[in-house]
């Protein structure tokens, strides 16, 4: 019996928490607090994991590996671990969940036990996706994330929730079926589903694909991830899901769930199919840049705050994809950090919108105006989150965007105009974000129903304060965050480049 790795502890804590809550929690108060406690415990454990992390090590750390299903020609393992690529996304997940839970204290009043159980399950599944090193295990977690989210939207959502939930489910499911085929094919070829083993086989030449096969496999994985990201033009499920989801659902969706897609590209597509990544990079970058501009532009045309924020996600994730497919160290690290940043700022924006919705039960921007005067604390905090989202230097969004652009300028696969077009997104972000901020927070406070809005209560304040702290910490000390990713990403990028060169040399 191997020692149980810290990674497993972090992974299983939410599940344990859910069981404990289901069995022992009797009244509403204990349900809430036990869910919060366990999500905080998970966060604590993940911090411990961060402390034990060795930044000089490129490969997986704190690995936990147990054979699960062994067939004659294949083996499926419970295989989890953490490296520089996943570490910050895991931390992001454990960081966002307590906030999402805290933000639900006031807003969720019915079927509470079920609700918090779903939140903890989704945390478990998302952590599983980031930790799994076995394709099969990964796929299971990947699919499990859908179920709680489906119910979160479908049960606690707004008017049109069933439609949105079904659409969300079908969309993501459609993509992942292709991926399942590719995973089965790969596992069958390699005789194992463990990614490190497959990579080793590829490196040693035991396993190799023809160019065409590799490209098809890339697409099969890529489409599943692209729907999740979502990349333009596969984004149509996102506004529906966001608008209908409850606040915590939106926070989780934007904060973490979308990152499963970008993470998937880095974890699977780049190392497994380097030549295809190189081949498809310009195509992905074109879609990313269109997404950046399109998302920003469409955001500006919205009247509903939540929809505006939803479309802004498309724009931001366009940046992430551009960075990843610059296929150099700066770009990929920028993309990963920006994934985290987007989780923090957009998570914050959704919390913000949720707070407004709680008070006025509308999300239409022109129902507000001058809110800053009525709710000064809320206005100030919102301003910082808005600025972080539009990439003000010194705050977190800028560091990510800058590093991504830095990567894309220096990229060997993308031409310079991608960067120029993407940088336009910086202007457009200011246009829609300030439009939103001006319409909601500034201007005269002339609507009667807005004049007596109460400012933040303690629970709302404490769900936003951690976000503010991270906005500044990442913005001012990004070096600390890059330090954890650098070696792993460098290793990955070298692997991709070497494979591409080897393929070109043949």
């Amino acid at each position: 019996m191997e020692d149980i790795s810290l990674v497993t502890v972090v992974l299983m804590l939410p599940l344990v928490g859910m069981l404990v809550m289901l069995i022992f929690a009797r009244n509403e108060q204990t349900i809430r607090w036990s869910a919060l406690t366990f999500s905080l415990l998970t966060f604590g454990a993940s911090l411990l994991m961060l402390r034990n992390f060795d930044t000089a090590e490129a490969g997986l750390q704190m690995v936990h590996k147990v054979d699960w299903i062994t067939g004659e020609s294949f083996v499926i393992r419970y295989y989890v671990g953490v490296d520089g690529i996943s570490i910050w996304l895991i931390l992001l997940t454990t960081f966002i969940m307590p906030l999402a839970i805290l933000s639900s204290f006031n807003s969720i009043k019915d079927r509470m036990r079920l609700y918090y159980a779903f939140l903890l399950i989704i945390e478990w599944a998302m952590l599983g996706v980031f930790m799994a090193q076995d394709l099969f295990l990964f796929y299971i977690f990947w699919e499990v994330t859908l179920v709680p989210m489906y119910f979160l939207i479908g049960i606690w959502g707004a008017e049109n929730r069933i439609y949105a939930a079904v659409k969300f489910f079908l969309y993501t499911m459609a993509g992942s079926l292709l991926m399942l085929l590719a995973i089965l094919w790969l596992g069958n070829e390699a005789g194992t589903f463990s990614v490190p083993d497959i990579l080793a086989q590829l490196d040693q030449g035991v396993l190799s694909f023809s160019t065409t096969t590799e490209r098809w496999l890339f697409l099969a994985f890529g489409i599943a991830f692209a729907i999740k990201v979502p990349m333009w033009p596969l984004h149509s499920w996102l506004p529906d899901a966001h608008v209908q989801a409850p606040t915590a659902g939106s926070v989780i969706l934007a904060g973490v769930l979308l990152k499963l897609g970008t993470y998937g590209f880095v974890r699977f597509n780049l190392p497994l199919f380097p030549e295809a990544s190189d081949y498809f990079a310009p195509l992905v970058a074109v879609l990313a840049v269109i997404g950046i501009i399109y998302g920003a532009w469409v955001s500006y045309g919205q009247t509903d705050v939540k929809k505006l924020v939803a479309y802004s996600s498309i724009s931001h994730l366009g940046f992430v994809m551009l960075g990843i497919f610059a296929l150099n160290s700066a770009g990929v690290q920028g993309g990963l950090l920006q994934s985290v940043n987007h989780g923090i700022s957009t998570g914050g924006l959704f919390l913000m919108v949720g707070i407004l919705y709680e008070r006025r039960h509308t999300k239409l921007m022109n129902a507000f105006g001058g809110i800053w005067k009525a709710m000064p604390l809320y206005g100030g905090i919102s301003l910082i989150i808005v600025l972080s989202s539009m990439g003000l230097p010194g705050l977190n969004g800028f560091v990510g965007e800058f590093t991504i652009l830095l990567g894309s300028v220096g990229s060997d696969v993308l031409s310079w105009w991608f960067t120029a077009a993407a940088a336009l997104g910086i202007i457009l972000a200011a246009v829609y974000m300030l439009y939103m901020f001006n319409t909601v927070f500034m201007g005269p406070l002339d609507k009667e129903e807005n004049k007596r809005l109460p400012d933040l209560n303690w629970q709302e304040l404490w769900s936003l304060v951690p976000i503010l702290i991270m906005v500044f910490v990442i913005g001012l000390q990004a070096g600390f965050f890059f330090d954890y990713m650098d070696v792993s990403v460098q290793d990955l990028v070298n692997h991709v480049n070497n494979s591409v060169m080897a393929a070109a040399g043949q």
Binding site: V298, G301, S329, V399, V409, S415, M442, D446
Partner: protein
């Protein structure tokens, strides 16, 4: 004294502490406490700047790089070679800017204590003001382009917050203020787009964003003849200045550029780019220029600055006249090595600067709002500075920046004092009689007049500012403006460069405009008789507002003497020739001292005086009789047309709205409503994909399933039923029949079993 350089983080820290105190405790502190904290923070920053200045003088203008305490490296990606730190650079250029920012800033803080008295957002105002100082000082003191960018966008944010400070004014005014704030931010962002692209290219060209790495000195250019041997070389012991010029090892961007330019034939290659180094410099500098046109309000992005006057007047003085808007000029002077190397960019810079100076000067002629005139004047003067950069007169650009900061801050504060006085007068009147709703606007010069006697101190200081701006000897503006003119003409004469001549000509005309509109303003505001009851009852402002005016007036009068051109009689001998140039040369490679040209100075001053005379003649004491028609319009129809054009600001805003803003907004709604929602979301997804799915489902259920598969099963079931009903007839129900069939069955079985035996028996 070199240890004093380590104090530089304090220059940022003091305002930061001030803002944090006011942010968290502003409500409890009360107006008095807030003022003490905010002004104190600014004054402490000024003190630190002065100490840094003295330390610079003491150590022979040595430059030092200081790491920010507490913070680690900002962006550090070893595998990509990215290392961007929080580092401060203390050199003559940054110290000059620090002195301007904190010096003018402190006076304006002091003034604002009086100006903002009684405003419910008093603490918030000073939080923003201190925040502005933080960002502005980061901008000027950073040692790399990205830190400059932090300050650059940060001051843009403060500008946004302060322009929109009165967002909650009831009705349209609140929206107007908010929109002006948003416009400023967005237009600035367009410039930032250029700047950030320039920064990215700079990084890949040089592999670093540091101006100079810590132990490095600028490679000197042509001014070896009056180079003072550095007395102090930071952190390197035993290496004197001369040797350190042969730089080896890591270099900042400027020395790398200098080296490659000297070597020639360097190609920049990274990613998919391969381009000659000189061309890359042109691209970078043009992108930087776009940034500068945003921040320093040049054509085509100057439209935000006049609207920015929606903010409180101290803000207009500090941010939109003295400091923030000069950031673009500072940035280009900082990058003088780049700009000097690219003739194309220099030409573009000159043309943009000169055109802006001329156009904005023209628009200023036709404004009635006291602050709007000053705003366009600021745009015009920034055009002078940008032109100076274009013609390579970096000293002159910085010199004009310094003098302009003093006299334009003075003018804005003076106008604020006037507005304040008028508001008080109006208040006074409004108390007496109740029908005061006569469209009165305390900023409209047509409601003023005769304030000379009501507000004498304001009048005298304003006059000093006006003369300085108009370029009358010996006030500050004369020296700096003259140097720009001389340098542009020299570029034309010496190098035969067209942009020199063009710049010179346009600036001369702009200078004449300047004198004219300033005197028009002085006439309308201070001379003649009061044209409104509010002006009648206006009174001098509080001492806390007047003292800064006097301080700035003093500076506006004498600050020009820091850079007396060589060849100027008496003063040159008295104050030393181009002291400021000597000071700047230590950090600005291509800075050079100005020369005095009798003929040009005479022409410029004569032109200004003539313009003043004409203005005074047209706008005499009895000229302004009605509110609708300006005296200029009455002179001739052609002038009336010109005035109308100027009054309408040449329709810049309208053009932008018609060609950029409205199309963008319309396209956004079209994209959001039609394309993304109705077409992509509703049509493609709902109708096409979901609809097709439904249709296929119906096809499958109704046709395939019901009509074919289901029917096939029904048919076969029917067949079985029919067959069974036939077959069941053999079930007679009579035991005998069954017994018979059993018997036959048994016989059959027996025969089959016995078949082999039977076969043998029968011999078959």
């Amino acid at each position: 004294m070199e240890n004093f350089f380590d104090l530089v983080p304090l220059v940022v820290l003091f305002p930061l502490i001030g803002l944090l105190i006011n942010l968290f405790a502003g409500k409890q502190l009360g107006e008095r406490g807030v003022s003490i904290v905010a002004v104190g923070a600014s004054a402490m920053a000024l003190l630190v700047s002065i100490v840094l200045w003295l330390a610079q003088v003491d150590t022979g203008f040595g430059a030092v790089v200081v790491d920010a305490p507490l913070l680690g490296t900002w962006i550090d990606i070893p595998s990509a070679g990215v290392e961007i730190g929080w580092q401060f650079r203390v050199d003559t250029l940054s110290v000059t800017m620090m002195l301007v920012v904190t010096g003018v800033g402190t006076l304006i803080h002091l003034y604002a204590v009086g100006y903002m008295h009684g405003d419910e957002g008093f603490p918030r105002f000073f939080v923003y003001m201190n925040l502005f100082l933080v960002f502005m000082l980061v901008l000027v003191s950073g040692n790399n382009f990205l830190m400059m960018f932090v300050g650059w966008e940060g001051v843009g944010l403060c500008s946004y917050l302060l322009i929109g400070f009165w967002f909650d004014k009831p009705g349209d005014e609140g929206w107007k203020n908010s929109d002006a704030a948003r416009k400023a931010f967005i237009v600035n962002r367009i410039g930032d787009f250029g700047l950030i692209l320039g920064v990215l290219l700079t990084f890949w060209t040089f592999g670093t964003l540091d101006y100079y790495v810590p132990d490095e000195e600028p490679i000197p250019y042509h001014h070896a003849e009056h180079e003072a041997e550095p007395l102090f070389t930071p952190d390197i012991t035993g290496v004197d200045g001369a040797e350190s010029h042969a730089v080896s090892g890591p270099m900042g961007v400027f020395n790398q550029a200098e080296t490659w330019l000297t070597e020639g034939d360097h190609r920049v290659e990274f990613g998919t780019v391969s381009i000659k180094f000189e061309h890359m410099l042109t691209v970078i500098t043009l992108l930087f220029l776009l940034g500068a046109t945003g921040k320093s309000a040049q054509i085509p992005l100057f439209i935000w600055l006049p609207d920015a006057m929606a903010g409180p007047t101290p803000v207009s003085a500090l941010i939109h006249a003295a400091t923030m808007v000069t950031a673009g000029v500072y940035m280009m002077v900082r990058a003088n090595v780049f700009y000097h190397a690219s003739e194309t960019t220099s030409f573009v810079v000159t043309m943009i600067g000169a055109t802006t100076a001329l156009v904005a000067g023209f628009i200023a002629l036709g404004q009635w709002d006291i602050k709007r005139v000053l705003a366009y004047s600021t745009v015009s003067q920034l055009g002078f500075m940008v032109t100076a950069v274009g013609v390579g007169a970096y000293t002159a650009a910085m010199f004009h920046l310094v003098t302009h900061a003093c006299f334009k801050a003075l003018l804005f504060l003076g106008s604020g004092s006037v507005i304040h006085g008028l508001e008080h007068g109006h208040h006074h009147v409004a108390h007496g009689e109740h029908d005061h709703d006569d469209g009165f606007d305390p900023q409209d010069m047509r409601f003023m007049g005769g304030l000379r006697h009501k507000m004498p101190l304001t009048y005298w200081t304003y006059l000093v500012g006006t003369l300085a701006l108009a370029g009358i000897i010996p006030f500050a503006g004369f020296w700096s403006k003259d140097e720009i003119l001389v340098d542009s003409l020299k570029l034309g004469l010496d190098d035969g460069r067209l942009d020199g001549y063009l710049g010179f000509g346009m600036l001369l005309a702009a200078a004449a405009f300047t004198a004219f509109y300033m005197w028009r303003q002085v006439s309308m505001v201070f001379y003649g008789e009061p044209r409104h009851a509010a002006a009648e009852h206006a009174g001098e402002s509080a001492p806390v507002m007047v003292w800064p005016l006097m301080g700035l007036a003093f500076l506006s009068a004498v600050i020009g003497l820091i850079n007396v051109p060589s060849g100027f009689p008496v003063l040159g001998w008295l104050y030393g020739e181009h002291q400021f140039a000597n000071w700047l040369e230590e950090s600005v490679t291509y800075a050079h001292g100005g020369e005095f040209n009798w003929l040009l100075a005479t022409i410029a001053v004569a032109l200004a005086l003539a313009a003043i005379y004409v203005a005074r003649t047209i706008y005499n004491d009895r000229a302004i009789t009605d509110l609708e028609r300006d005296p200029l319009e009455r002179l001739s129809p052609r002038l009336a047309q010109a005035f109308a054009l100027s009054n309408a600001k040449l329709y810049w805003d309208e053009v932008y709205f018609a060609f950029v803003v409205h199309p963008y907004r319309r396209a956004a709604y079209t994209l959001a409503e039609r394309v993304d929602w109705y077409w992509w979301h509703d049509f493609v997804h709902e109708r096409v994909i979901y609809g097709t799915f439904n249709r296929v489902t119906r096809l499958l259920t109704d046709v395939l399933d019901l009509k074919i598969i289901d029917r096939a099963f029904l048919r076969s079931a029917e067949a079985v039923r029919v067959a069974a009903s036939r077959i069941r007839r053999i079930q007679t129900g009579y035991v005998r029949t069954y017994a018979l069939s059993v018997l036959f069955g048994a016989l059959l079985v027996t025969i089959i079993i016995l078949y082999p035996v039977l076969r043998d028996l029968l011999g078959i």
